[in-house]
């Protein structure tokens, strides 16, 4: 199978854990023990992500490829959560979401950078909780305004609807 993607490198997860910034869209990544794809922001040419806690990390991008590795300071806290449920009576998740949690100032931020979704709070649990409730609130808020949305927000609503599924 011919792929337009290019493997531009592999980094080892030595300490301190490096994060990387890429001035192009990461289309996917493989780690030594599975696939890790929810690391790239959507709609942005400048991407940021952090290496997961596996030993090696391969990454793939479309062409043309140019960029610079940036090794950044280790965050106070960074972890990956796999969100399987929204804790909502009315909605469930249509897919497992990979959510990165980091500490920024006084707040913990839970984010799914590929689609720009985030939530925050004064604890890791609260950040994840606000991330989950935010998906439902944003779905309902955009749905209520559906006839008046810009193209950008219509696309966001479609993305939310593909992930936040009404319970029958």
């Amino acid at each position: 199978m011919v792929s337009t993607e290019t493997n531009i490198g592999r980094i080892a997860n030595y300490r301190p854990r490096p994060s990387f910034s890429l001035p192009f869209v990461v289309s996917g990544a493989n780690v030594s023990e599975g696939s890790f794809t929810s690391v790239a922001s959507s709609g942005w040419s400048f991407q940021q992500a952090e290496t997961p806690a596996w030993s090696t990390f391969d990454f793939y991008v479309g062409s043309p490829v140019s960029g610079t590795w940036i090794v950044e300071q280790l965050n106070d806290l960074d972890s990956i959560w796999y969100l399987t449920d929204l804790d909502s009576q009315n909605y469930r998740l249509g897919e497992v979401l990979t959510v990165a949690v980091e500490k920024s100032g006084d707040q913990f931020i839970a984010s799914e950078p590929r689609r720009g979704w985030f939530g925050y709070g004064d604890s890791e649990d609260r950040a994840i909780g606000n991330f989950a409730s935010g998906l439902v609130e944003e779905l309902e808020g955009l749905s209520a305004r559906e006839g008046q949305l810009s193209q950008h927000l219509r696309e966001e609503l479609a993305q939310l609807r593909s992930v936040v599924i009404p319970r029958r």
């Binding site: 493989n30 707040q107 590929r114 409730s133 008046q148 927000l153």
Partner: protein, 126 residues
């Protein structure tokens, strides 16, 4: 490092940028940027006591608002960017057509804003 106080951002988004604000939801207040009866972008602030929005949160909110970089949201809050300038950036970023007589500002602060989002493909090892 950009950091802003949540109450100040709340007030600026509602009063200066003229956002439609939804405070009825349980966990967040939502701010919808509206022009000519069209919602261009939105962002949210967690409910609860006043808190500091650190650099990462300011960046995420600026991206949600289609303002590009964190610095543009800081400029808006610090009155170094007016409503028309913000709307011009948001319009350009979100692909909305300008209102009649509206200011035209290129979204130079957001590289790649015009690039369409493409869904990541399954990675292929070489």
């Amino acid at each position: 490092m950009a950091s802003l106080e949540s109450d100040k951002v709340d007030a600026i988004l509602e009063r200066k940028l003229g956002c439609e604000v939804d405070r009825k939801t349980r966990d967040h207040n939502y701010f919808y940027v509206k022009e000519n009866e069209v919602f261009l972008s939105k962002t949210k602030i967690s409910k609860g006591p006043k808190h500091t929005l650190d650099n990462t949160l300011v960046m995420l909110m600026a991206r949600q608002l289609q303002l590009g970089v964190a610095g543009n949201l800081v400029k808006l809050v610090n009155c170094n960017l007016n409503k028309d300038e913000c709307l011009a950036i948001i319009r350009a970023s979100s692909g909305a057509k300008p209102a009649a007589g509206a200011a035209q500002v290129a979204p130079a602060a957001k590289p790649g804003a015009s690039q369409p989002y493409s869904k990541p493909r399954s990675p292929q090892k070489k």
